[in-house]
Amino acid sequence: MNDELNIELSESPIDALKQIIEHHGKDITPLFAAAITIYAGAQSAFTDKKEKKDQLETVICR
């Protein structure tokens, strides 16, 4: 049990991550996906650190 989130966390690792992400607002889930995809995704087209950060800032400020 996570006191701060006040939710029973799932046994499945990623289900639990999903719960944590959604706890910070529904709009955070796509933002989170975008951040991880930009940095670690197989489709990531960005190799430069600054390019990645700029892309992420664009997504956050959209």
């Binding site: 046994e11 690792p13 990623i14 289900d15 944590i20 910070h24 933002l31 670690a40 197989a42 400020c61």
Partner: protein, 710 residues
């Protein structure tokens, strides 16, 4: 990454070019390779490791020339070079597409003398069969990095078991499971993303500050907000650290409790100790009672003068005494002086006057009486033979018999008590041998300390959480104040709103990333523990349980709460298989869930397991359980089996296999004759085949050939 084809030339026992095509269609595939002992099954694993890591993949970094087939070497003239290679065609996800690549790892060596070889080169090449130059060197190690990232070296032995026993590799040598799982998720990149979000948040703060530079009150409020946010961040981090620490203590508490439950509780252990101590005291008391009874008996028998045995003589002794009395043989002490004193008087004791016969009568009487000692003895004897009285032989004998009977009873009671205490002591000691009392006491102490830690951590977390709520409340109010103030201040409202919204999003995203990263390890553990236990615990027949280490994520078998490696029935191999299946499930679940979250990290569920003799050295029960697990438990499952294993698994696996290959091993006539004919024959649905054959005429070096069966 999934492997489509493995080809090798002149590698280890394989002569010439040999290849195996692995099915990749569908989510789960099973390929079986059947071969005699020492025919080259493990050589395939060695070849794979060499392909992945080059010289680093060769055990003890031996000379790569040792990987070249002896037969090929023998056929190479002195002064000529020879090439041996391993080539793998694999498929991997690149962006939206699946990419197929073929990479060849080559060893080139020159024969410089009859038995001397010189290594010319080893290297990785990209195969381009349609190009003018069909092999291109991996100059910048680009592909080397790609294949190493697909199968990290630390994890190779978890997926590509080599040699026997299977469990030895998995349970002993595999390290870095946790970091390797993180590597599949590119956890380092998550951290980079988190840092970037932090920087973006700061940039947005600066932009806000710039936007409001004309209004000093708004500036001051924003500055104050920034300080509150720093405080908020620090409190959130402190809470997250405290909660992680609390969870670790709770997990440890649970683990210790489960251990204790399997050992027996502390109270029971204490009770056994008390009982043992009491039985030992009773044993000592009985021993002392026995000694005392035996001493008493000795003394009583010694003092009895054998009277109880003389009781039957009392009657005849009475008669003899009566006779003696009748004969005037009385107990008296008649001395010469006594006779003289009687005769010196006028009359006798009886009152008659003395006459001439008085002296001779007294002399005759004196001669018939006993002396003083004999008299005393006779008096004692007379007392004894009396039917009544405390000194009578009957009373004394009765008393002695009573005392002896009492002492005999005491002795018997002591012996019984001693034997009972001894039996109890032995039983309790044997019980204690099976119950690790010391371990129970240690766990009990550890549990008390952990409970104390948990209580204090809960209190600290509550205190931080309360403070955090206050900070959040103040921050929220301040934000609202800033909003109101911004409206009155003439600041561009659209720009202001956009910046504050973005900053808020960056803040929440940062929080989500921090929390997800800190929880990842815990969920890997939970998932693996739950999956491995559900497979292993239900199959184990000896009460042993699967246990996943919380930090390393390595599996172990616990018996009575203690890790053990001493089980020989096949438990370890079943655990290894359960672990493999669980790793596959974990990666599949991660892949599906990440896809659901729209996070595309590639096919992280793409993985191949190579298992060398997974069913060897197992009891039938465990072998059967292992066979049930193998088919279709991963994208690619490649199982190598030898004769006995094949005979056992064939009815269960042959139909389920997507492909079957066999190794035909050509060996010398002498070695072949050592194996009975039925042992050379392998049965398949398509017919039987001899997989052990004789070397062609003139050949000296044994070699292997791959045959496609299904």
């Amino acid at each position: 990454m999934v492997i489509k084809k493995i080809t090798f030339q002149n590698i280890l026992t394989y002569y010439g070019e040999q290849s195996i095509e692995l099915p990749i269609d569908g989510d789960r595939t099973l390929t079986i390779l059947v071969g005699p002992n020492n025919s080259g099954k493990t050589s395939i694993i060695r070849a794979l490791k060499f392909w992945f890591y080059g010289r680093d993949g060769i055990a003890d970094r031996k000379d790569p020339v040792s990987y070249i087939s002896n037969r090929a070497k023998a056929e190479t003239p002195i002064g000529k070079s020879l090439e041996a290679w391993v080539e793998i065609t694999f498929e991997r996800q690149v962006k939206e597409d699946r990419e197929t690549k073929t990479l060849r790892r080559v060893i080139e060596a020159k024969r410089t003398a009859e038995s001397r070889w010189e290594l010319r080169s080893t290297g990785l090449f990209v195969s381009r069969p349609t190009e003018r130059i069909p092999l291109m060197a991996d100059e910048s190690d680009r592909f080397q990095r790609i294949i190493e990232s697909m199968v990290p070296k630390a994890l190779f032995d978890a997926f590509y078991f080599k040699g026997e026993p299977l469990d030895g590799k998995l349970l002993g040598d595999v390290s870095g499971i946790r970091s390797a799982l993180g590597q599949f998720l590119h956890e380092d990149q998550w951290e980079e993303a988190q840092d970037a979000v932090g920087e973006i948040r700061e940039n947005l703060s600066k932009k806000l500050s710039k936007l409001t530079s004309a209004n000093s009150e708004l500036q001051s409020k924003l500055k104050e907000l920034s300080q509150w946010e720093i405080k908020l961040e620090a409190q959130r981090k402190a809470l997250s650290d405290e909660e992680s620490s609390l969870e670790a203590s709770q997990a440890l508490h649970l683990q210790e409790t489960q251990k204790l439950e399997s050992l027996g509780d502390e109270e029971a252990a204490r009770s056994i100790r008390t009982k043992l101590s009491s039985a030992q005291q009773r044993f000592k008391a009985a021993e002392s009672q026995l000694r005392s009874a035996e001493e008493g008996l000795k003394s009583e028998i010694s003092n009895s003068l054998g009277l109880p045995f003389l009781v039957s003589t009392a009657e005849p002794v009475s008669r003899i005494l009566k006779e003696m009395e009748d004969d005037n043989i009385l107990p008296a002490d008649i001395t010469d002086g006594f006779v003289d004193r009687v005769l010196s008087k006028k009359s006798c004791i009886c009152g008659k006057p003395h006459d001439s016969s008085s002296r001779s009568n007294w002399e005759a009487y004196k001669a018939r009486t006993l002396n003083a000692d004999a008299g005393a003895g006779l008096r004692k004897l007379l007392d004894w033979v009396k039917p009544q009285g405390t000194l009578s032989i009957k009373s004394r004998s009765k008393e002695i018999s009573k005392n002896i009977a009492r002492l005999v009873k005491e002795r018997l009671d002591a012996i019984t008590a001693k034997n009972e205490a001894d039996t109890e002591i032995k039983a309790l000691q044997s019980h204690m041998e099976n119950i690790p009392i010391e371990e129970i006491a240690r766990i009990g102490k550890s549990l008390r300390e952990l409970s104390e830690q948990i209580r204090s951590k809960e209190n600290r977390a509550r205190t931080i959480s309360d403070a955090l709520r206050i900070t959040e409340y103040n921050t929220k109010n301040l934000k609202s104040e800033i909003q109101d103030l911004s409206k009155k201040s003439g600041v561009d409202q659209n720009a202001f709103k956009k910046l504050t919204t973005s900053k808020d999003k960056a803040d929440r995203l940062h929080k989500a990333l921090t929390e997800c990263r800190s929880r990842l390890g815990l969920y890997f553990h939970r998932n693996l523990q739950s999956n491995v236990s559900s497979i292993y615990d239900s199959k184990s027949t000896d009460g042993s349980k699967a246990h996943i280490h919380r930090q390393t994520l390595l599996p172990a078998i616990h018996v009575n709460g203690q890790a053990t490696r001493e089980l020989g029935g096949g438990q370890s191999q079943l655990l290894a298989l359960a672990y493999v299946v669980s790793l596959a499930k974990l990666r599949q679940s991660m892949h599906e869930q990440l896809e659901e979250l729209n996070i595309r990290l590639g096919r992280i569920d793409d993985l191949s397991f190579f298992m060398d003799s997974p069913f060897g050295h197992m009891e039938e029960h465990y072998k059967r359980a292992a066979v049930e697990l193998v088919p279709h438990c991963a994208r690619q499952m490649f199982v190598f089996v030898w004769k006995e294993e094949w005979d056992f698994v064939r009815p269960l696996l042959e139909k389920k296999a997507d492909a079957i290959y066999a190794i035909e091993f050509a060996t010398s006539r002498e070695d072949l004759d050592k194996v009975e004919k039925p042992q050379r024959k392998y049965s398949f649905s398509s017919g039987s085949r001899d997989l052990l054959v004789s070397l062609p005429k003139g050949e000296v070096y044994p070699y292997s050939t791959i045959l496609k069966i299904k």
